[in-house]
């Protein structure tokens, strides 16, 4: 019986792997076909080279900016560090304020109208004013990013906190749980999946915020490099920078997905088992 189970498990694994490989092959095939069509269209003059540089030139530009001239690294470092710091600070503010407003009805009543007004204000339009107020440099750039990525964690934390399961809350209260215990054992575990969803949105927004800041303050960063390239009509390198941002955005998304799987593990299939196995291993190992 055990041998039969093991065999069917292996079969399922092989089938799943084969399906996954086939799916990846299909994606790669579509991507390569589109790229080849683009290259062909550019070479035949069907596509305007002012807007659509040849993919082969874009690949050459990747080589130029990453290895031959290696000028992209400095800008990449600047953009990524800004995104991470801005996101961490914006999230801390968003989660902190969201929790505060969620727990305290008086604060909620007074703060809510301001938050709604601020949420309705196009944050990008405020960017030049922030630079004028806070000055040039890292501070104003961080402020723009924080402003852009503050709302998702704030709203999600607030919603997670105020939508706590009433019956379970009653149960905790009936068992005379302290406020800290309610927060740690009930509210936070309930809210974390929603907060994590907000964090995912915030991190993606942080990248856009950084770009806006760099478009206004052109000292460094991928945004300012894109402006230099487009001004010089070097569209292949501009596209290389844009694709770099696409890759960063994708990695951010995947990274947040992993983090979400790790932090809010109970939300996912097999998450509890995986975590308990891990804990068991830690307990057994000296």
């Amino acid at each position: 019986m055990a041998v039969q189970d093991a065999t069917s498990e292996v079969l399922v694994d092989t089938l799943e792997r084969s399906l996954r490989n086939r799916r990846i092959a299909k994606h790669v095939g579509i991507f390569l076909t589109l790229t080849l069509l683009w290259e062909l269209g550019s070479r035949m003059g069907w596509l305007d080279p002012l807007f659509y540089p040849r993919p082969s030139n874009i690949i050459r530009s990747f080589w130029l900016i990453y290895f031959q001239n290696a000028n992209v690294w400095f800008h990449l470092y600047s953009t990524i560090s800004l995104v991470i710091i801005g996101w961490v600070l914006g999230s801390m503010l968003g989660i902190g304020l969201g929790a505060l407003v969620g727990f305290n009805t008086v604060i909620r009543r007074f703060l809510k109208p301001y938050v709604i007004v601020l949420e309705a204000t196009p944050r990008i339009a405020v960017a030049p004013l922030l630079i004028a107020a806070l000055g040039f440099g890292v501070n104003s750039k961080l402020a723009i990013i924080m402003l852009v990525c503050f709302f998702a964690p704030f709203i999600n934390t607030l919603s997670g906190v105020i939508n706590v399961n009433e019956e379970r809350l009653e149960l905790f209260r009936s068992m005379r749980a302290s406020k800290t215990q309610i927060l740690r054992k009930l509210v936070l575990p309930d809210a974390i999946p929603v907060i994590m969803a907000g964090e995912r949105l915030a991190l993606t927004a942080a990248l856009s915020g950084a770009l806006v800041a760099e478009f206004i303050q052109r000292d460094k960063g991928i945004g300012s490099l894109i402006l230099v390239y487009t001004r010089n009509l070097n569209m292949a390198s501009a596209f290389a920078c844009i694709f770099t941002l696409t890759i960063i955005g994708f990695l951010i998304f995947k990274g947040m997905e992993k983090l979400d799987h790790y932090i809010a593990y109970w939300k996912y299939e097999g998450g509890r088992e995986r975590m308990s196995a891990k804990r068991k291993r830690t307990m057994v190992e000296p």
């Binding site: 560090s81 206004i216 303050q217 402006l227 001004r231 010089n232 070097n234």
Partner: protein, 344 residues
């Protein structure tokens, strides 16, 4: 607790990744201007490559920005020590009560111009009447106003549209006939020409002799910042002198400092050749202030509506740093540039 530790750790890591901050003892001069380090203002790049700013104990903090807030505001609130302004911006700021002095002329010939498609239907300013003219930025409106005024027209005789600095937008607009002409600068044309879009300029001759991209500062800080400013302008003038005497060295320095402008050889070379003469003073003293030119351009600006009142130039032109800016051994600078070129 574990969650708290993770948060603290990630915050610490994030702070560790903060872009490096300079704690050098040098005096920092903050300059707000439209572009980052570029061939467009090569004396800065040359001065840095040859260590002239460092020798003067100065760190240049560039504030390249496309903000919609006037640059003068950044001088007034102390965020910038120097602002790069065009004549009409300077006069308008003075008229608005800004306490600023123009202390150095970076360019003494206007890099601005009105460009049309070569061999196209528009061959003079008169042809532009009734058409749509593209502006690279809102700052180019005043130049177009003056050009139209000289040729007996007004800004109301044309429609204007701000196209922005993006090369593809400018190129497509003029190539496809969406605009009859573009009011911009030599920096904007270089990329178009390098990409096979031939252009002609229809700029009235009278507008070519005009200060451009002049550096202005808070008048109250003239004495307080004298030492640093003199050093800054001396280093800038040295860079300008290298441009006049050894363009090959300048080209090599630019290729090293701003490789992104040289990835397309024709565009890089076109830009360099366009900006080289623009950055070299025509006056005897480098960066000198041409009071007569400032006086002569104002009535034109007034009649075109670019400024509200004519201003007495003695109230804002201040050449107090110019002698010090020219006080250096030219032979030594030439030798240093030649040595740099040989070593690199």
């Amino acid at each position: 607790m574990k969650m708290f530790k993770v948060t603290m750790l990630s915050t610490a890591v994030a702070f560790a990744a903060l872009p490096s901050v300079s704690f050098a003892q040098d005096t920092v001069i903050s300059v707000i201007k439209p572009t980052p380090r570029s061939a467009v203002f090569f004396p800065l790049v040359v001065g840095e490559a040859l260590g002239y700013f460092e020798d003067e104990g100065i760190t240049v903090n560039l504030l390249p920005s496309d903000t919609s807030i006037p640059y003068v505001a950044f001088i007034q609130n102390g965020q910038a020590d120097l602002a790069m302004l065009d004549p009409n911006e300077t006069i308008n700021a003075i008229n608005a009560g800004a306490n600023i002095n123009t202390v150095y002329e970076v360019m003494q010939n206007a890099p601005e111009g009105i460009a049309v498609l070569a061999g196209g239907e528009y061959t003079s300013m008169d042809d532009l009447v009734g058409t749509t003219v593209g502006l690279v930025s809102d700052r180019d409106r005043a130049f177009l106003q003056a050009a139209l005024d000289i040729t007996g027209h007004s800004i109301d005789d044309v429609q204007t549209v701000v196209l922005g600095e993006s090369g593809p937008t400018l190129a497509a607009a003029i190539r496809d006939g969406n605009v009859s002409a573009i009011s911009g600068s030599v920096f904007d044309w270089a990329a178009l020409v390098a990409n096979g879009i031939e252009i002609d300029t229809v700029t009235p001759e009278e507008l070519l002799a005009s200060p451009a991209n002049t550096l202005a500062m808070n008048a109250d800080m003239i004495e307080e910042k004298r030492e640093a400013m003199e050093g800054f302008f001396r280093a800038w003038s040295k860079g300008m002198h290298v441009g006049a005497t050894n363009p090959d060295a300048v080209e090599a320095m630019l290729r090293a400092a701003v490789p992104e402008e040289w990835e397309v050889e024709a565009a890089g070379m076109g830009l360099f050749q366009g900006v080289l003469p623009m950055n070299i003073s025509t006056t005897e003293r480098m960066g000198d202030l041409q009071a007569d030119v400032w006086t002569s351009v104002q009535p034109r600006m007034l009649s075109s509506g670019a400024i509200k009142n004519v201003v007495d130039v003695s109230t804002f032109l201040n050449d107090t740093y110019i002698d010090a800016a020219n006080d250096f051994d030219k032979a030594q600078v030439e030798a240093a540039a030649a040595a740099w070129l040989e070593a690199n």
